[in-house]
Symmetry: C2
């Protein structure tokens, strides 16, 4: 395991992204996002993505210098064309915009289209919560990654749902989940380490239940979490982050299209924000007052695991597996950066 401080990782990420062609200010946004994701423990959506993003800049999927543009604008809504730049640049632009509009008018909806991989979806609600705004962030669409309930062919992506809210003294609420039973990151990891997955995660190319990650890569697909309920949510996400935003109207030349649905609500819309935050703390305390079930030490609320990991990693550094570090080094060298 290679362990480096958040600051060291920040320098590494910035130099790789800039060497790959990103302007300094955009490299900084992507870097902050990747470091944040890794600090929260979402390693599959953190610094490891430097490898993929550098490759995508080279093959033209990511336009490293593209800047988001507002193409429709009302006091409570905006449509943003990301012009196929970094997903994080688009996501942060959209989040700042929706936060500003929500603070001014009570609530707002921003739809970002033409965007690349958004990174760790939980980063956006976490940023909004810092500003006192409740945020619902949805992204996803159709692909071959996940089967519909009752189907055996992949038709949906992992269509994640992220929700955040400020609290008072407590860690903010933070929900960040794929609507598939497992995220693709876990699948890749299982494949890489040769481990089997728990039952209920995937089907093989014939649509039969499997625990072998190889079956996914051989034409299989992931399963929605929670059966027909997770499937229903995945379809709702596909509608809200797709047709509603007109994501397909801003497809890349190769046909790719992708949207990000960002709904912001001023936490002080119906009562003073400070009072609201205290009520959230109180609600969390009541949930956490349940005695733990067998095998658990305590009840956690959504957001606590990530907040604790962040605290530890800020203190002890962010770890990375040796072989991934080697790949990052190779990526850096390919871009002309030498990392010791």
């Amino acid at each position: 395991m290679v362990v480096k401080s958040a600051e060291e990782w920040r320098r590494i990420s910035n130099s790789i992204l800039q060497a790959a062609g990103a302007p300094g200010d955009l490299a900084a946004i992507v870097t902050d996002h990747l470091v944040d994701a890794s600090l929260m423990g979402h390693d599959s959506h953190g610094l490891v993505r430097l490898i993929l993003y550098t490759e995508r800049i080279r093959n033209g999927m990511i336009v490293a210098g593209a800047r988001p543009e507002i193409i429709r604008d009302t006091p409570v809504s905006a449509q943003v064309d990301a012009h196929w730049g970094f997903g994080q640049v688009a996501g942060h632009f959209g989040t700042e915009l929706v936060v500003e509009k929500a603070m001014r008018n009570g609530l707002a909806l921003v739809g970002v289209v033409g965007c690349n991989h958004l990174g760790c979806m939980g980063v956006y609600p976490a940023l909004a919560a810092e500003k006192g705004v409740v945020l619902l962030a949805l992204t996803g669409g159709l692909s071959k990654v996940m089967v519909p309930y009752g189907g055996k062919e992949g038709r949906l992506d992992t269509n994640p749902i992220a929700v955040g809210s400020p609290a008072a003294g407590h860690d903010p609420l933070l929900v960040d989940m794929a609507t598939s039973e497992i995220a693709t990151g876990k699948l890749h990891l299982a494949k890489k380490t040769g481990r089997m997955l728990p039952p209920g995660c995937l089907v093989d190319r014939e649509g039969k239940p499997s625990v072998d990650p190889d079956d996914y890569y051989d034409g299989g697909a992931l399963l929605p979490f929670g059966g027909h309920k997770g499937y229903a949510l995945a379809v709702a996400v596909a509608v809200l982050a797709g047709p509603l935003l007109n994501a397909e109207g801003f497809a890349a030349p190769d046909g790719r299209h992708w949207g990000l649905f960002l709904l912001g609500i001023d936490s002080g819309l119906f009562r003073p924000s400070g009072e609201y935050r205290k009520a959230v703390d109180e609600l969390f305390s009541r949930i956490k007052s349940s005695a733990p079930a067998e095998g658990f030490k305590e009840v956690l609320v959504p957001g606590e695991p990530a907040a604790r990991t962040r605290e530890t990693r800020l203190r002890e550094g962010i770890p990375m597996a040796e072989e991934i570090w080697e790949a990052v080094r190779k990526t850096a060298e390919g871009a002309g950066v030498s990392l010791k």
Copy 2:
């Protein structure tokens, strides 16, 4: 099985509710809702509720003549005090209000507080979809019904999520689901018929997995659907339908408080509504094009099962189990209505 047409049920429901003290216009709203729920196949939230509601009018939980009042109002938001009248009256008032505001300003959020049982949550997005509005409806809070993930004591209610969207030629999108593995209606039914539940639905008073509905009534609790993910959604719903709306600030004298979060989005916000609806149809077609898995005849999208049941029941009538019909008759007699 007793089978009656929607029109017959409507007459029965109206006469019972009016005899129990509801003004004619409010009885009609509740009646339409109950008939709609039963038409869609949500029997546990349909006409059977006449029994409970009549009882609750008698014991003062439902104030049969109360009318919702707008207590905060902006172009894109409103807070509505339902004054502990019928939940359906509050829900329909809120839905009409949010639809009107969304059509005028692109999107809107209405928070209803001080409301009773809302009936079938799917009815609200279905109504909004008819008007061309995408609706997200959330309700719920804390109770002893459901354990938090990792806990063994009930701390959450079943905190349902409902989402709807218009389509063009296709049945509208309609998601309507409890965040518990099963709704309490299914639990009551299993208890009544002496049947065991599938694994994963509940825990006994010690927090141990159980399939026996009696264990629930003996101090046990339901489990969230999909493990920690369903739990995370249940907590988010509790925050959005509770503290955000200041639901606890409008508690009944006995301490009960309850809120309904209604977010409406004009389906024509980012593109012409007709174009949007066609894109939804297209998305549904692509999902449905998956070959069915073993044991399934076809892939359905959320909303199709309810739409099909409605079609059948409009043609063939709405069935009710004999013993429930007997209880409805007794309820009617208690209120001074004689049903043959």
